[in-house]
């Protein structure tokens, strides 16, 4: 039995000339192509000899077809009749060779060659890339809707912000090759028609791969920057690998058993979908069960009310009720932060443990920190808009809105207080400093000017 070897062939599928040169060189060294894989091609040992190779494209078979298809055999028989023997085939390409230096080339009409190659491009590159392009546009559309619905939530979500460029990069990667194919088709068609010449395509496949590699890198960064732990993303990757690997295995098995291509595609597609769906459901169940990605709080105890148990938290808060007034109530203090490269949103809440401390002063405030003026404008605008005639679920319109107040006592750029049309001002404030916005709500405490100024002094940015 002849020895075989595998060779890594990182060539674009459209680089016919480079492939043919490589095969001729290998034949001269005593290796003949016997199997074409994705990245690795298999060669079988032969006597070193001068062989001529021709790589041709085949657009009538898919990766779900049992090979060779009748149409492939027809072509191979025809080529064998004119002195070209088949070296190896895949669903999309066939490689022929001959030892006869005077044999007529396989492809003799540039117009037909351009048409044949373009059909392969549509099948192998343009359609799949357009499918991915639609997927990218769908995700970008979803991001846009998320932003429109809750800009603050979107801008402070690290995963969303870091993964946003991923979809733009993939969008670009999806466009590079189809545009190159269309441009080549235009030029090559004209050259073949008018000059009888065949222009070899130059499809920048590497550019797409570089863009995809950068996108994957960004996705990893986004995953590590998100509140979910790396184990969650590892689990997700394993599910993807199981779905794709299982799908590939099943597709090959069904192809070997010569099932019809349509059936193979349907069964494989369903299997991939089922594995992915079940995997995600299990992952979500495990995540919820183990509170993965939930913010960490310092638990100081618990209490029961109406048959339910509530935890008492003792998270550090920058401002507490005791800074403003004397109180001996028992409190739960909770802090939660969402951080992205654009915006940090920190939510703080100091609420009394009920019922023993019911009615004690309560504080709820959110601090928004950003280094970007445009982000700050978006945050302020959303907070102002949220309190502009709020419509409740039952259709009731609460005619509330923030009214500007004098920011000077708080050392702020701008300050607002919430006003209800019926009951006048209520103790909720919006204070804006360069780089920081604070929304501060009081309950069971109507702060006087001094208390408010003290709160603002504590919450104002330090630098």
């Amino acid at each position: 039995m002849n020895r075989t070897k595998r060779l890594f062939v990182p060539l674009s599928i459209y680089d016919q000339q480079a492939m043919e040169t490589l095969l001729e060189k290998q034949a001269a060294q005593g290796w003949l192509l016997s199997k074409i894989g994705g990245w690795f091609w298999t060669f079988t040992e032969i006597q070193p000899q001068t062989l001529q190779f021709a790589v041709t494209y085949f657009s009538k078979a898919t990766e779900y077809d049992a090979l060779p298809t009748d149409a492939q055999k027809d072509k191979e028989d025809l080529c064998a009749g004119s002195g070209w023997r088949l070296a190896a085939r895949r669903h999309d390409i066939q490689v022929f060779y001959t030892a006869d230096a005077d044999v007529l080339p396989l492809e003799t009409d540039p117009v037909v060659r351009v048409a044949s190659l373009y059909r392969a491009m549509v099948r192998l590159t343009i359609r799949p890339r357009l499918f991915t392009l639609v997927l990218c546009l769908f995700w970008l559309g979803k991001y846009w809707l998320d932003f429109r619905h809750d800009a603050i939530g979107f801008l402070s979500d690290s995963f969303d912000i870091l993964s946003l460029p991923v979809w733009f990069l993939l969008l670009l990667a999806c466009l590079v090759e189809p545009i190159a194919c269309l441009a080549w088709h235009r030029r090559a068609g004209r050259a073949a028609e008018e000059g009888g010449l065949f222009l070899s395509p130059r499809i920048p496949a590497r550019v797409s791969w570089i863009l995809v590699a950068v996108a994957i890198l960004l996705l990893c960064l986004a995953a590590f920057g998100s509140p979910l732990p790396p184990q969650w993303y590892l689990g997700w990757l394993l599910i993807c690998a199981a779905a794709i690997g299982g799908g590939t295995w099943l597709r090959k098995r069904l192809r070997e058993k010569e099932y019809p291509a349509g059936l193979n595609q349907a069964v494989t597609g369903l299997m991939v979908l089922a594995v992915y769906t079940v995997g995600i459901v299990v992952l979500l169940a495990v995540s919820l069960g183990s509170h993965l990605g939930q913010p960490d709080h310092v638990v100081a105890g618990s209490y029961e009310q109406n048959g339910r148990t509530y935890e008492i938290y003792n998270d550090p808060l920058p401002l507490v009720a005791e800074d403003l007034t004397e109180t001996d109530a028992r409190y739960s203090r909770r802090a939660t932060a969402y951080t992205s490269p654009l915006l940090q949103q920190s939510l703080y809440e100091q609420s009394p443990v009920v019922p023993q401390s019911a009615g004690a002063p309560t504080l709820r405030y959110t601090i928004y920190d950003t280094d970007f003026a445009f982000v700050q404008n978006i945050v302020v605008q959303q907070l102002l808009d949220e309190h502009q005639d709020e419509v409740y679920e039952d259709g009731t319109v609460f005619q509330d809105s923030y009214s500007a107040i004098d920011p000077a006592p708080y050392g702020a750029q701008a300050a607002y207080q919430l006003q209800w049309s019926t009951s006048g001002p209520i103790p909720q404030y919006l204070l804006c400093w360069p780089g920081r916005v604070v929304e501060l709500r009081f309950a069971y405490l109507i702060p006087n000017e001094e208390q408010l100024a003290k709160a603002a002094g504590i919450l104002a940015p330090t630098d």
């Binding site: 009538k60 149409a71 027809d74 028989d77 009749g81 004119s82 396989l106 492809e107 009409d109």
Partner: protein, 107 residues
Amino acid sequence: MPRERFKTLTEQMFYLLLCLQEECRGMEILEKVRQMTGGRVSIGSGTLYDLLEQFTAEGWIEATGALRGRRRYRITGKGAAMLAKEYERLREQIRDYERYAGKEAQP
């Protein structure tokens, strides 16, 4: 597909349609075209396969043999019309040549 390009035929397309006035198998076509043109025009087997596929899809030719490898082809009415149209185009070119270059060439 085809295609703006098929408004006119390349030489290989023309002779393929011409030789399919009679039913032929693939290998016979290659030989017949060579004979018809005295070896001036040869069709590569890869090109022939692509042309047979494209012309069949266009309805210019039809396959008559059911068995693989024994498939025979012949021209259809649509293909014959295309061939005739190409013939007229070539005749017009010849007439134009005779009218202008031909006259100048005469003493």
